[in-house]
Symmetry: C2
Subunit: 160 residues, 2 copies
């Protein structure tokens, strides 16, 4: 049985997994089969915001032996390493997503309160704001989380 679950030979995915393996190794972690499957699953769902439970369901389709605890641990680890993004919408579940390889992992979210759609938006408009805060409050900003709530384009259109 192949170690790699991607039988189609998707070059991009291989490149992507290689890159992530490098980061794992640099931090003293191993790219296990389970971690690879989680990564590939996320890769196949770029732009979606999945809960640990959802990831577990998807992952089990590839390897039904993988446990929920492993998925939780893996998502947490990948998130700590900055390989994936964690998103908390205050609805009692934490979501994770993987970004495009090229873009920075850090971005904002537009959350539609009508249909629940979550849009990831890459934008560094906040860099200036960070500097302003540094000066004004003597606070050295190292990271930020920004969520915009509102109504998305398509819901606005439906409302007329």
């Amino acid at each position: 049985m192949s170690q790699n679950t991607n039988e189609l030979g998707d070059e991009l995915m291989i490149k992507f997994v290689d890159l992530y393996e490098k980061t794992l190794k640099e931090n003293g972690y191993k790219l296990t089969n389970q971690r690879r499957v989680v990564l590939e699953t996320l890769y196949n769902r770029v732009g979606e915001h999945l809960t640990a439970e959802e990831v577990h369901q998807l992952v089990k389709m590839v390897n039904s032996e993988i446990g929920l605890a492993t998925v939780y641990r893996t998502l947490q680890l990948l998130s700590e390493l900055g390989l994936i993004d964690k998103l908390n919408l205050d609805d009692g579940v934490v979501r994770y997503e993987i970004g495009e390889m090229e873009t920075k992992h850090r971005h904002h979210h537009l959350i539609c309160e009508e249909c629940g759609t979550i849009m990831g938006v890459d934008d560094d408009m906040l860099d200036a704001l960070e500097e302003a805060f540094s000066k004004k409050y003597g606070f050295k900003v190292t990271d930020h989380v920004v969520k915009f709530y509102g109504v998305c384009k398509s819901c606005l259109q439906k409302q007329g």
Copy 2:
């Protein structure tokens, strides 16, 4: 026994509770004794970021009969009505805070990763950003949550 737990006759607090009662009534809710105690407790802790459990502890000092579930419900309700702010730092507990009456309840937070201090910051620097998003993505922003992580002034000084 007095209905009002504030025996000192703090005019500001009375004014404050009156204002909040008005908002509750306008939305079809009653200002019960329990809700008043929760409000007064928060009022006495302006600027702090309390968990439901902490609020419950404080509230029980005034009226030991008040249950935890009521505190949870009250905090949720007040938050929905915009009377208090909800803050999620992703550490498994939701915190609540009450703002000064004069200032808008919506503000940003600076979270020090060294000492855990949470600073509330009133600033409308994001208004411009909201407009930019509206134009760029056709997304009508109605609210936003912004958290800055980093190192606070006093921790920076300690580090030298």
